[in-house]
Amino acid sequence: MSQMSVVEATNAALRQELTRDPKVFVYGEDVAHYGGMFRVTDGLLRDFGADRVIDTPISESGFLGMGLGAAMAGMRPVAELMFIDFSLVAMDQLLNNIAKTHYMSGGSVPVPLTIITQGGGYRGAAAQHSQMLEALLLHLPGLKVVLPSNAADAKGLLAAAIRDDNPVVFINHKQLFGAKSEVPDGEHIVPLGQARTVREGTDVTLFTYSYLVGMGMQVAEEAAAQGVSVEVVDLRTLNPLDWDTIAASVTKTHRVVIAHEAHMRCGVGVDLSHQIQSRLFDELDAPIQVVAALDAPIPFAKELEDVVLPSPARLLEACLGAVRG
């Protein structure tokens, strides 16, 4: 084990996979010579050379389309999208092409393309650099979507993503980049589609992911002080979902809060809430609560951003409310 930041752990996964498989190459804006806007690709050019680590122009649609073609032609490309917000200029490639190719080809053309990116707010980056867009990517079938909440998962999930024969979008959170925690040395894989129960509880389950896992843990402490036992489940992978872990926890606590930083409308919380109530209705002792961003763009000023994005206070209120009604 070593103490590593999420940035270092992400970098370690890239190194691990570049070393292991000559088909892997890493590319994107500022990734090679500069080492990445957030240092995720620091030193890779020096250590793996110009055929494996490549700078691109600011052409997200073009370079994601090229990642698709390279993946179809036998490579395992890893593209960095500097901000997930910029995926919006490449949605045709992502959703009409990358996500659909395997299906449209009748399963004959795998697309082992990984897209690493980062999203999230709480830093005053305003409406075009603070978003969590996982719901957009999940709405259309064909993309796996992964959001680590800590350094060990960043390393293990990214390695699994790169080895997966499907397109995977791996979304770090900018607030977590510097967060250090223990990371296994050597080869480390966290299989896609496995949630993790990060805190056992008995009264209510908080399903969450990414930055809100840490916030949820803090809230669970406060709730415990008030006599409410919160189970915290880090979903980690949103497609595929780990339904077994979800169902087991619902069957145990019978009360559910789903929390995410992305907007409420048509989001992951609303979707998961439907799945739980339609499949486990008899298990539920209270209405499912969803905590999400208000349906307004992410504002700049702190006073405003604090209102729009989920806060510990809102999470706590939801957890207590689920139990006390």
Binding site: D51, P57, S61, G62, G69, G74, N97, T101, H102, S105
Partner: protein
Amino acid sequence: MQEVRGSSPLSSTTLFSIFFADACLRVAVLILNLSLGPHACKLAPPMETSQRDEQFYRSMVRMRAVETELLALSSAGQLRGSLHLAQGQEALPAGAGAALRKDDYVTATYRGHGYVLAKGGPLLPIIAEILGKAAGLGGGKGGKMHLFDLEYGILGTNGIVGAAVGTAAGAAWAAQLQKTDRVALTVCGDGALNQGHVSECMNMAVLYQLPLIILCENNLYSEMTPLSRSHGDVNLAGRAAGFGLNTAQIDGNDPEAVYQVMSEAVNRARTGGGPTFIEAATYRTIGHYQADSGIGYRTAEEVEAWRAKSPLDHWAAKLGKRAPAIAAEEQAAVRAVFEEAWALPGPDPLAAGTQVFA
């Protein structure tokens, strides 16, 4: 009719140096071929002109026969979906296909079935897919706008204007990174040049010197809108030259011209000479799709004038007495495949939810 240019500015010196460089390349390749044997440097197989004439004619007649069958089915209400035909444009896939190896990559448009046929794969799985059958290339999940066949390098016909250019550029990138001499061809329309994605890819093709050929079928219209109402500058090759691609403007109704300029572009790409943009003048003598008569936004005279330039008719005339027998043979073969494909079972409905992921 055919004019080859280097990157702008276009001067006689650049022209000369390009021809000179090209000539050197050909000599070098010849020497390589002679010294290393036929398998060492796998350039397009040389073909006698007379052999090519027959091959082009066969290819064009086959494509027309496929379209004739499809049109009949569509008119009878027996074919699902949109049908974008390419009558009048058959010289392009015929010439381009002949310049490629089996292991080269191709992406094309919703109108690109001709390139899939010309790549040489078996006809039955292609037709079965277009008819939505389980034995089709995509098991009935793709249809005519989404034809994939990895074995023959077909990385997709595509329903999104311009989108397939990135796929081909990426395959070319892979070929380069893998240090193979494979090349990628992408086919797009005149209208596709107005997609930002295409501009992004042209820039990267030059930046990385990708072994990519962009064959632009300039049929003067995007859907029902003429170039003059959609392009600020109708010089499409000029636009590509602005990005630094090698460019050529050719008569797209002459399969021999298409073959020649494609072969040059392919050889250049195989030997590290970078990407080429080919603007091919052509015309679809049929509507944009099955519900478009092709008249109204175009005058009957204009259509007639281009019909007179039909590559199929010209090559029939060129082959003379041999043509009818070849045409009959191809048509019969296509007919037989359609009959066989029509009788095949459709996909199992339970397959609808499968293969979303590998």
